[in-house]
Symmetry: C2
């Protein structure tokens, strides 16, 4: 008897309706939780160390073999493992980012991205849409909210990659520069600039509890002498003046255009003439439905903030103009889904 | 200035690592919840009725316009809407299955598939893998568990499509047949056979509370005179003998091979010589990682059952042989992700 070897379910003419996508999407919560579960089990690390069969993995993970097989097969389906003759191996992404022995390991990001508090923000999206946002959202930007400490601790590996791409572009090694890192979080962006330019002085602004994480990271990187902090609400605090560079990374998406223009005006007057603003953001195309990761980041803003959104370059340029800035330049920060926008005072 | 019009994030050589898939998968829980939220808001129905802009949709859904725009853009990214010049339209799938006015509307499936109890089964997949399954899983097959009433009520539209594909193949109109529907649930499969063959007599076996739903559905379909029930655990109850056809739909995946062989032996002796067993199942290829929907259904079994799994045709054939059955034939039930396996006594 021939074995069923279909490549996909229901190959079909373009106009034939199929319930498969609906069924599949209603199970995608399992994709998130399976990846988190595999990271929790250090499954990728064990595979990298040579446990490539379900029996070997069950032993290393102190787990049930049926559970291991179901999880490994599932991770193969969603693209994090390969399976050959019953034995599993890592993909390029999981080798680089999910094996704990890798310098670029980023398993810790689940500490924020799949934190129960964050997951629960999205349990009732109809309610979010009716209310226009969360009632008491994690991203309500309440002072010293602990979730941002979790963020600062967990997201370092993902942000480090971005910082390594941005620092060489903005750090101007050889020049004495004064840098403001707005809503610095983990501080990694400013710290990377400080490492790329030994004459750079960094001022990191954020909530006091979050700045503790940034200060510890600065010490770890050996740049603590050139790393200073401004605690408090960046919309209200005295940020100083005479900056050569202001970094605003993954922050403008938390607010509406009115709030952003207010902040950008403040940033504009903090910059010295000829100074540069560097904005790191998810920037969708004008249609706001492509590219997929940047466009769908808006859903995070619906769940986690009161008025946040993703903005197109056209929308950012309007805010920049309103705040008194000149022309902007954008570049994609491949291989991440983020973009860098540079704007001159 | 050129506008950023990238088609996808990070087009890249095959071997360059990217954090994008990790980032994207850790947000896929939002895909599930966004589709559920849109169904809750009757968003697809409002679009079908002509509300195609964010302003019109916000009014019809009594919702916030920013929330509507973010949700509609998100649904466009994940494939349930199209967006043209700021106006949204339905895809083929959402026209047929997500508009409440459509006869094939299946929005109710979220009542089971994204029931909080079901979602919570997958909150700690590492724990599931360590324990080998849920401690007190919804699928522990405990007697008269209410979640199966929810299942029986919610899943009717999805199952109806399957039943309409299966009934013409197995119902033998013109012959007087006696049909056993094992773990009948909503009863839809047996009912469809009864409608396709006016001389068919159906005996539906399931928990007592679930059979109430099936009996109500039989009355609705006008086949109540030919619809009888056997309440209780199908592994233990007296199912009768002399059946021409036994239906076992989406049930064998809940158990291990040993339990399935026990049930199949019982089914085999309930059939008359020459009688037919019809099994409806998610049947992956021998690699167990393709096709994607059938293969990944195993994760449901890890979360919801103690020993369940998806089985390949090779594995099913071994169980059939062990239970005394003859040859099997398989066919895909396109456009669904399910397969029908027919086996003769």
């Amino acid at each position: 008897m021939p074995t069923l070897q279909a490549e996909t379910e229901s190959p079909r003419p373009a106009q034939q309706a199929s319930p498969t996508l609906i069924f599949e999407v209603l199970h995608r919560h399992q994709h998130t939780m399976a990846l988190k579960g595999a990271i929790d089990l250090e499954l990728f690390t064990h595979i990298a160390r040579g446990a490539t069969t379900t029996a070997a993995l069950a032993e290393r993970c102190h787990a049930d073999e049926r559970g291991i097989r179901i999880l490994c097969d599932f991770l193969t389906v969603i693209g994090f493992l390969r399976k050959t003759s019953g034995s599993y191996s890592l993909t390029t992404d999981s080798t680089v980012f999910l094996d704990k022995q890798s310098p670029a390991y980023m398993g810790s990001v689940t500490g924020f991205l799949s934190h129960p508090v964050i997951l629960d923000q999205f349990r009732d999206i109809a309610g979010l849409v009716r209310n226009g946002g969360p009632d008491n959202g994690v991203g309500s930007m309440s002072p010293d909210n602990d979730i941002w400490v979790e963020f600062a601790n967990s997201m370092v590996p993902m942000v480090s990659m971005v910082a390594q791409l941005v620092a060489p572009i903005v750090a101007k090694p050889g020049s004495r520069i004064k840098v403001l890192d707005v809503a610095a979080g983990h501080g990694i962006l400013g710290i990377s600039v400080a490492r790329a330019n030994p004459a750079a002085e960094i001022i990191a602004a954020d909530w006091k509890n979050v700045l503790k994480v940034a200060t510890a990271n600065a010490a770890k990187a050996g740049v603590q002498d050139r790393f200073h902090t401004v605690p408090g609400d960046v919309f209200e605090s005295e940020l100083g003046t005479g900056f050569d560079l202001v970094l605003v990374s993954n922050f403008l998406h938390c607010f509406d255009a009115t709030a952003n223009i207010r902040l950008l005006k403040k940033v504009q007057s903090a910059l010295k003439p000829g100074g540069q603003l560097a904005v790191i953001e998810f920037v969708p195309n004008d249609d706001k439905v492509s590219p997929p990761v940047a466009a769908s980041f808006a859903m995070n803003m619906l769940g986690n903030t009161e008025r946040g959104d993703v903005y197109t370059l056209t929308e950012f340029n309007a805010m920049f103009r309103e705040a008194g800035f000149g022309e902007s330049r954008i570049q994609q920060l491949q291989p991440t889904p983020l973009s860098l926008i540079l704007v001159s005072r």
